[in-house]
Amino acid sequence: MEDVLFRTRDICKEYPGTVALRGIDLEVRRGEIVGLVGENGAGKSTLLRIISCVEQPTSGSMEMRGEQFRGRNLLDANKKGVGMVFQEQSLMKNLSVAQNIYLGRERGFRRLGIVDWRRMNATGAKVLDSLGLKDISPAGKVLELDFATRQMVEIAKVLDIVGDSEEGCLILLDEPTSVLNDSEIRKLFEKIRIIARQSNSVIFVSHRLSEVIDISDRIYVFKDGRQTALLDKKDANEDVLYEKMVGRSTSGEYFKVGSQTEPGDDVVLEVRKLGLKGFFKDVNFRLRKKEVLGICGVVGSGKEEVCSVLCGDDRPDEGQIILDGEERRFSDPSDALKSGVLSVPKERREEGIIGGMSVAENISLSSMDAISRHRIISGRARMDRANDWIRKLNIKTPGPKESVATLSGGNAQKVVFARAIAGRNKVLILNHPTRGVDVGAKEEIYQLIREITEKGMSIVLLGDTLDETISLSSRIIVMKDGFVVAEMESPKDDKPSQFDIVRYMM
């Protein structure tokens, strides 16, 4: 019998409309580093949130140190020896290292109600020492440290909170390397190994497969909320992992591949040497009339930021955007809209709809000129157009005057599409166009995308899944670490496989 520190039994997690995790049986041995890999949305982050008690599983149970493990929040998890280092760094940059480590736990250093900073620094130094971080000064401000060191401070903090290394504790690392460079990563891995040698265990999540193979003793592979494989370090290589992550594709019929539009010859949008400091550089591509251009890449590849620049939300530092042969510099999204470029944003509730307003108003907001003369709105024109779109897109709402906030995800998204199409724009940037949308509405949206490209619109697409991007696009570019690393055609009769693309992404 192996010395198991933590295990989950048949963990399932359901959200309204989707199942995020099903039947997860994970086992972490004492002193072991376990890797977790999978595509975006495979369920890795959900599992980490469940283990750290930030979320509750729908069913299933967990065990820690041989006892039932359950908690209502992160603090409960910490008390029982589970600590989580979050993807976004949670340190207060304007406080010192020691102040950060003991944030919210200053009580222990109190004397007559006043914090004894010297004692806190001394204790903090010991904590840092135990991880071999002698060169970090506990009194120094966090903002003076580089990212790798901050990450180490964060880990030191979590380790100290869960404490009790006699018993062994479990540290969860969610994408700890995404902001680090190679030498920083090596430094980080060294420390992770030190933690594991002190009979603690680590769960390590990363998009970079080579890293996961490097640091982990065993690797779990997730796909669509299921665990599809468990590999020992010696059996793992990148190809095997890709294959397990990708699995089979959904049928072409679902994505209406048959009616994929043949792109025309005229270039509508061209991007030359586009760059945004810290996010992407040297991005070139051409978007032709009636084309769907898919951009693939993991989180942090720079694809989101390319979208932001294209729709005018961010201004590029270098390069050109050429629309219909003319160079454009969009000062903001309204400026881009004037030139006929509009986005369907990723966060529908925050960016796509105006919650307090009616369906009819939401539909007309991006094409006010069409329903008004001298900026005075014709209420009837607005209603007519709204009714038109409600019928055309089969939007299920009690009426055009209904508040858009009451609509389901799929119908709200159709309102967003109606708004985007109503203005007869040339280029649409679709950023996760089917996020949080049920299956039926998804199919209708796919059909709609085919129809609008047929009518002459061009689309830049960031799909919700890789499958979706491949099936909908007629051409695909792949981004990694801010650069375009591959470009390939994706005609309807010869779609590239997910495997072809994932190998460039990771």
């Binding site: 903001d332 999204p333 509009l342 960016e351 796509g352 709809i353 919650g355 991006s366 008004s372 900026r375």
Partner: protein
């Protein structure tokens, strides 16, 4: 009916209930409260308050706040009064021009420099208040008596309704039209309800905010001119208490400070309520020193009624 929907219905109808309750109470204490003199007086006092609350409503609907209302009113009052000997009733254009300019300065500083609106407008109000005091050389300066003939038109009443109140109703109609029938009006709601969304769907967020502030300035200017006409004086401190009254009119009417909801129609009701409370307190002989306490308390209570209580962070932009 659940507790929540009952609460919501209560909040929605609160201004009307308050109006009815107050009229009943004040009339019971002093039956002359609903008499023609008292009502005419209410309309007279409500006219400038309505004008200056209209634009303030727009600003609040975008989610910002204008604390320079009172100062712009003071400066406009002074500008009207001091230019009257030269321009006659055309001074109204000077006042309106100034109000629009002062509002534009607020709008530009707020959108260009991205400074929170309460700071911009608080600082700007110091500027306009000084300007007002400098122009009259401190305190007040009357409009020369020989020119009073030129102001006679303002004393006209149609029945018990004074002409100035009718003009303020025309202004109300204009703001209501802007609010409900123009692209600007829709943009004001959209920006207030979801600024990020409004930006992403291609609305001009900055220009929307700019216009809300500019229109607020213009409304204040009209109110300032009214005070000058009524009092036949340039009074540099006339606006000092009205910033609170403006916010009170807006929130008691039921427009929440969080933006994205509300209406100038509600503000019309709110302004009348404020004046009725004021008038009622006078009728039942409450010391004016005590009245500010009442308005402060009412404003806080109205904001409380209209605020989201779901634990979401409350931010004024």
């Amino acid at each position: 009916m659940t507790m929540k929907t009952r609460m919501r219905a209560f909040v929605k109808n609160f201004p009307w209930l308050l109006l009815i309750a107050l009229v009943a109470v004040f009339t019971a204490i002093n039956p002359r409260f609903v008499g023609p003199i008292s009502l005419g007086n209410i309309f007279m006092v409500a006219a400038p308050l309505l004008c200056l609350s209209l634009g303030a409503t727009f600003v609040i609907m975008t989610g910002a706040i204008d604390l320079s209302v009172g100062a712009i009113v003071s400066a406009s009052c002074v500008i009207y009064g001091t230019t009257f000997p030269a321009l006659g009733n055309w001074s109204i254009l000077a006042a309106l021009g100034f109000g629009f300019f002062a509002g534009s300065v607020n709008g530009l500083l707020f959108t260009w420099l991205k400074i929170p609106s309460f700071i911009v407008t608080l600082a700007a109000s110091a500027l306009w208040r000084s300007l007002a005091l400098i122009l009259v050389g401190g305190g007040a300066k009357g409009i020369p008596m020989e020119l009073w003939d030129g102001l006679k038109w303002a004393d006209i009443s149609i029945g018990i309704v004074p002409l100035l109140f009718l003009i303020s109703l025309v202004a109300f109609g204009l703001y209501y039209f802007i609010q409900s029938k123009t692209a600007l009006g829709r943009a004001i709601f959209a920006v207030g309800a979801n600024e990020r969304g409004a930006r992403m769907l291609g609305l001009k967020v900055n220009s929307t905010k700019f216009w809300a502030f500019a229109l607020s300035g213009a409304g204040c200017a009209l109110a300032g001119a009214f005070y000058s006409i009524e009092l036949k004086t340039s009074l540099a401190t006339i606006g000092d208490p009205v910033t609170l009254l403006a916010i009170a009119s807006v929130v008691i009417g039921g427009t929440p400070l969080t933006g994205g909801r509300g209406s100038v129609l509600r503000t019309l009701l709110g302004a009348l309520l404020v004046v009725i409370i004021q008038n009622g307190l006078n009728t039942v002989a409450v010391d004016p020193y005590w009245q500010q306490i009442v308005f402060g308390a009412f404003t806080i209570f109205a904001v409380f009624l209209n605020s989201e209580k779901g634990g979401r962070v409350f931010i004024i932009k």
